[in-house]
Symmetry: C5
Subunit: 104 residues, 5 copies
């Protein structure tokens, strides 16, 4: 999995029937800043993931990719390869807080 | 999933029998412009995806990769790893429109 | 899927028993030339794929990766992650021919 | 699989129900130093993996990605794409030790 | 699949129970030298793969990744994403030998 920030959403009307009613969010994977190792920074990549948790723009979330994206009750028959499995509260690296939902 | 632009098509006569009659489109993944964060830009990569939605050249579409590409009614027994699951109407990032089908 | 050029072959005598008799080809993924967008160029990567279609050196082919490589009649029980699913006749991008088997 | 160093952890309260009680660790993939080939160095990437072995910060571990992350007794129904399958004791490359748990 | 050179091994005592007794080798993916196209060169990446064929350090091998790594008799229930499916005897590209086991 990886940590990503929810930065937007996608609307698609003409789609595979089973996708009706599923929220599609734009997520940008984050990684640790290599130099200072004190914060998370964007990787510059853009993915689309299905959300079943009510995530909102600005949230940091956990993304699962591949066939395992179908291992949640709401997504098991969907043609999707990425799903949000959790909203991130905190990330600690090297025993320091590099992300806290409350402070962001 | 990722957003891609349909830019072309592939013709293959000599192929695995189950692929007969399936439309193969050239798609180029797009990502958010990192600097200004106001538009989608090509990643420079080129993929081939099966289309079951009647997508056309110039359309922005949602691509699912991997085994989940077989989770649509038309593709479930195909030896494919990429399928178009929706035609994109709009993409909003940072609460701004970065793509709108009507304007493009 | 992606378009690749067949450039060689691999011989392996000591192998998993189920692989006996399967042709292993060297394939190099191609992508659209980013600047002029008029031809396909190599990505510089090298993969090995199973061929069941009688592809030959110089052919442009369609490659499927991952578990879907096992979705052809000849490959369904093989420990493989890449298969040739078609020989490419033509690729059109931006309404121009960027590859034609007859001309190559 | 790849070798990674455990460098932190993630807390997520709002998550897919099946994920309750599973430890989420931050892991950074390592590779051989290309020049001297005498030690493992970080790739600069950041992943999140489920741990079922009691791994701790500073440990070098083996990570399995994709659907196989569900092939352990504790993870078989989880929507995850990365799991720790072992704690690394030693890595030898070119007949030299490039990592030893006891010395680290 | 890809061609890789076996360059080392990993020892892990504390691991998922099903992994007991399986040999873990360090493998480095190789690709064709882009300029001269006359030899295979390392990609600089480092993976760990399960070996069931008695491969040794220095051997060039074929690696299968993903769920298909479980499609051999010895690996079908293992939480692994990479397996050696063959020891490479020869690689020919552009009708020239770029690797031969006997000469290496």
């Amino acid at each position: 999995m990886f940590v990503a920030r929810v930065t937007g959403s996608v609307v698609s009307t003409q789609k595979v029937a089973s996708m009706t009613g599923h929220k599609l969010l734009v997520v940008e994977p984050y990684r640790l800043d290599e130099k200072k190792r004190q914060s998370l920074v964007t990787t510059g990549r853009t993915f689309i993931a299905v959300d079943t948790l009510g995530s909102g723009e600005g949230d940091f979330v956990l993304i699962t990719q591949g066939s395992s994206a179908r291992l949640t009750p709401e997504t098991k028959t969907l043609p999707i390869d990425a799903v949000i499995i959790g909203v991130v509260d905190t990330v600690h690296i090297d025993k320091k807080s590099v992300f806290s939902r409350q402070e962001s």
